[in-house]
């Protein structure tokens, strides 16, 4: 398929890096000129060194050296479990209430009431129910990711052009087969939006879940570093979450485009 702006594709992509580059430049200037004290904003090269030590584990970084793989594995597991759970429940329920007025009546009120509760207010309850650790974090992530996934799937399923469903029915494609052959593809743009929002918010709630005293994870690192006054480690944690979050988003998008024609071909 032909692409709009083909010649400028690289320039287009590079544009996304412009803002981070500017921020880095600003940071560098602030650190070099001593405008901001190092205990508030450490020099980029110190942060880089901390990051290297965090990942590769040499140098005398005491508690933080070489923790990265362990933290990363713990965090990504929690995010994937929570997000997976949210998809498993949110997608079918969303599509169901988009198509069946009865399901919408049944679920809509409750879900929209729960949606109004800020995610952080679930934290104490989750701690009582599940204790500190994996379960609490997965619960918070799943809960937070559920709403955008459910709501977008619902909107997508509701807005499907009824003529497409009629066309399918007259060609003998109905019910379950029609759901997979027509309903899902037609709702795909909304579904993708929901999944991407859900995955994004998963990372936010991961950190929330990990701030409560678990011993590993990217959120835990940030919390430990705060206790020890290690602002460089905090910044490393933040940057890693930003990068990994973005990579997950890109990965999800690519995976969907790989798996579904409709994800490739619909705007």
């Amino acid at each position: 398929m032909k692409r709009l702006y083909d010649s400028g594709a690289w320039a287009h992509r590079a544009l996304g890096g412009l803002l981070p580059a500017l921020l880095l430049l600003l940071w560098l200037t602030a650190a070099e000129t001593g405008m901001v004290a190092p205990y508030l904003l450490p020099h980029p090269k110190d942060v880089l060194a901390t990051a290297a030590s965090y990942v590769f584990g040499h140098g005398g970084q005491a508690g933080f050296a070489g923790r990265f793989m362990d933290d990363f594995t713990a965090s990504i597991t929690r995010v994937m479990l929570g997000f997976g759970l949210a998809v498993l429940v949110g997608l079918p329920l969303g599509i169901l209430s988009g198509r069946l007025a009865l399901a919408n009546r049944l679920l809509g009120t409750t879900i929209n009431a729960l949606r109004a509760v800020p995610g952080i207010s679930w934290l104490p309850l989750a701690l009582v129910w599940f204790g500190i650790g994996l379960k609490t974090t997965v619960f918070l992530v799943a809960l937070a990711a559920f709403f955008p996934i459910y709501l977008n799937a619902e909107a997508g399923a509701r807005q499907v052009n009824p003529t497409l469903l009629r066309a399918g029915a007259m060609m003998g494609v109905r019910r379950l087969r029609g759901t997979f052959a027509i309903l899902l593809p037609a709702a795909m743009p909304n579904i993708i939006t929901g999944l991407r929002l859900g995955l994004g918010i998963s990372w936010a709630y991961l950190v929330l879940g990990e701030l409560t005293g678990v011993h590993n994870g990217l959120g835990a690192v940030i919390m430990d570093a705060r206790m020890l006054g290690r602002i460089d480690v905090i910044m490393v944690g933040i940057i890693f979450i930003a990068v990994i979050g973005r990579l997950c988003d890109v990965g999800l998008h690519h995976m969907l485009r790989f798996a579904f024609k409709s994800a490739r071909r619909l705007p």
Binding site: A169, M170, M171, G172, V173, R265
Partner: protein, 268 residues
């Protein structure tokens, strides 16, 4: 020369063996507002018969219930009263034996032209090669062989309607239902599509119910024209078009029939 309008007598006495689609006493109303307080009668006691291999055109003013009738024939809507029989059996749901070419674009936008045409074959017990061969055949029949890999968004309106035609013809429906399929096309493309339809009809011998508000189109295509009356909709007149085929548009007889039907329509 004054053309005589041949009014066909009611089909009650027609031999049942030749009738493929029979409609009797069809009535349909809609609630006029959401709480269902008011009700308008859109179809009132509609009856018609389509014989095997015949093309009938339903002509009527906008809003007289043509689409509603077609939706009932297709099984998308159920009538309040009356019944529809296909080959003697009552119909109550959509099925590939009655396929619709819709007024608006109803292709699946995430499927290529090929995949759209192959869509209805999903549920058929045929080998892959057989399906591919059928799709090739129908792509060629509608003149889109080179466009198989295009997406609907990448082809013109006329080409979309060709795909819409191919994807239902491939299912070999008993009756083809067409709801103003060419109304959104420019004059030249519309003529091309009319020629294509006549060509395919001669070749595949389907029975066709063709809805239009264009009298010229009806006279060009139909064996019989059913003139629909407005509010509530019902068949006001049946006019047999006995022009020999292939038909020429700029003949005196053609214009005379158009004029006669148009004046009938004004009185409807």
């Amino acid at each position: 020369m004054k053309p005589k309008l041949k009014i066909v007598s009611s089909q009650k006495g027609a031999p049942a063996a030749r009738a493929i689609l029979e409609v009797e006493g069809l009535s349909k109303g809609f609630a006029t507002n959401t709480n269902g307080a008011g009700r308008i009668l859109v179809l009132n006691d509609v009856g018609l018969t389509v014989r095997k291999g015949e093309m009938i055109c339903i002509v009527g003013r906008s809003g007289c219930g043509k689409s509603t009738l077609l939706n009932i024939l297709a099984g998308f809507l159920s009538p309040d009263r009356g019944c529809v029989r296909l080959g003697g059996r009552p119909v109550d749901r959509p099925a590939p034996d009655r396929c619709v070419v819709f007024q608006e674009d109803a292709l699946f936008p995430w499927l290529t032209v090929r995949e759209n045409i192959a869509f209805g074959l999903k549920v058929r017990a045929m080998s892959r090669q057989e399906k591919e061969r059928e799709v090739d055949r129908f792509l060629a029949l509608v003149g889109l062989t080179e466009f198989g890999s295009y997406l609907p968004a990448e082809i013109s309106g006329g080409m979309k309607q060709r795909v819409a035609l191919a994807r239902v013809l491939i299912l070999q429906p008993e009756v083809l239902l067409m709801d103003e399929p060419f109304a959104a096309l420019d004059a030249q493309t519309r003529e091309e599509m009319q020629d294509l339809l006549l060509h395919l009809w001669a070749k595949l011998a389907h029975s066709i119910v063709f809805v239009t508000h264009d009298v010229g189109e009806a006279v060009l295509l139909a064996d019989r024209v059913l003139l629909f009356e407005k509010a509530p909709g019902r068949v006001k007149e049946e006019i047999a078009i006995d022009l020999p085929r292939p038909r020429e548009k700029d003949t005196e007889r053609y214009y005379a029939l158009c004029r006669a039907i148009t004046s009938q329509m004004k009185r409807a």
